[in-house]
């Protein structure tokens, strides 16, 4: 019976079907595992999957007063967070953590960029923003945009901020989360505070692996 089957002309197609199904099963299992890994590591973060928001074109200025929009972000993984230079406690903590993150992963992932978007463009002039952002790392990008502009990243990402305007020393409450935008300009994840560089690096690597597998 066995000999008969092995001689059969169906052997090759049967083997092929078996190999393909095994490969498919293997792929499915590895995908599931990576998904589980991601879920285990995302307890404190919102992963905007399976329907990430697509970021549309916008026109902002960087701290050199050069145009900054979709073109400067596509093809790169961007870490985006918000603050203002008159925030001397929380913002520098996030900046320092992100400087540490960047330093540790920039060699491994060349296409990453760190963007600080001011929620106080009235007081944060290009010059102020430039000296503030580059103090933490020379590669960091400071972004300045018209708050009224419907397309600006603050509105597209949808972060909250409030002014407490009593005098010229006014404070701005703002989102302390770090957002991750992928090279296809999709808003992939929100990392909630408190921030620690090792945790951010782990989460980023998991998210990147997950997205790379989906692509």
């Amino acid at each position: 019976m066995l000999t008969k089957l092995s001689n059969s002309k169906f052997l090759i197609p049967i083997m092929a079907v078996l190999v393909i199904s095994a490969a498919g099963l293997g792929f499915y299992i590895s995908l599931k595992q990576s998904q589980n890994r991601l879920e285990q590591n995302t307890a404190t973060q919102d992963l905007f999957w399976p329907n990430p928001k697509q970021i549309n074109d916008f026109s902002s200025k960087d701290y050199d007063n050069k145009d900054f929009g979709l073109k400067q972000m596509s093809g790169k993984w961007s870490f985006v967070f918000f603050g203002y230079t008159n925030c001397p406690d929380i913002c520098p903590i996030t900046m320092s953590v992100m400087a540490d993150v960047y330093q540790k992963i920039v060699d491994e992932f060349e296409n990453i960029q760190i963007m600080f978007i001011t929620v106080d463009p009235e007081r944060d002039t290009a010059n102020k923003l430039s000296s503030y952002v580059s103090y933490f790392h020379k590669d960091f990008i400071g972004i300045h945009s018209e708050l009224e502009n419907e397309n600006n990243l603050i509105k597209q990402i949808g972060i909250a901020y409030f002014y407490n305007k009593e005098d010229e020393k006014y404070l701005v409450d703002h989102s302390a989360s770090i957002f991750i935008i992928d090279p296809k300009m999709r808003l992939i994840a929100k990392l909630s505070p408190p921030h620690q560089s090792e945790t951010i690096i782990d989460k980023f690597k998991n998210i990147k692996r997950f997205i790379d597998e989906k692509n």
């Binding site: 008159n86 929380i90 903590i93 103090y135 404070l171 989102s175 909630s192």
Partner: protein, 150 residues
Amino acid sequence: MKRISGLIFFLFLFLNNNIVLAEKNMEINIADLWISEAPPTVSVLVAYVTLINNSEKPVSLVSVSCPLFSSIEIHRSIIKNGIASMQRHAALEIPSKSTIKLSPGDYHLMLFNPKMPLKIGDMPVFIFGFSDGTQIRVKANIRKRNNRAH
């Protein structure tokens, strides 16, 4: 302009040194006053400090001043539902026999409009005023934040 404000600053230090200082106050102590080094263009700096109350009664920190800044306020950073904000406190109570540490991400001193950029090695003098009338002069250090990448 820089020279003039520098001159005023040193004049102030000189005058202050001639004020008779209270004996080293054992009831209230101030330790580890430091200002976080910051880019030269910022309008608000931050300082952290440890306040120790050895007495049997609670006492409050009610004022902090330094001739280098237009004003100094006590603030607390709060992150609630992912939103960072700061609350101003007119005073900060230190319960009896206890220590309060102002530290990054929590209570801190907001130093408004520095008259000149501060660099590591500078040691501006601050005056801390308490609810029982005690005034204590302390020198601050300028320091980099711990987790800053170099």
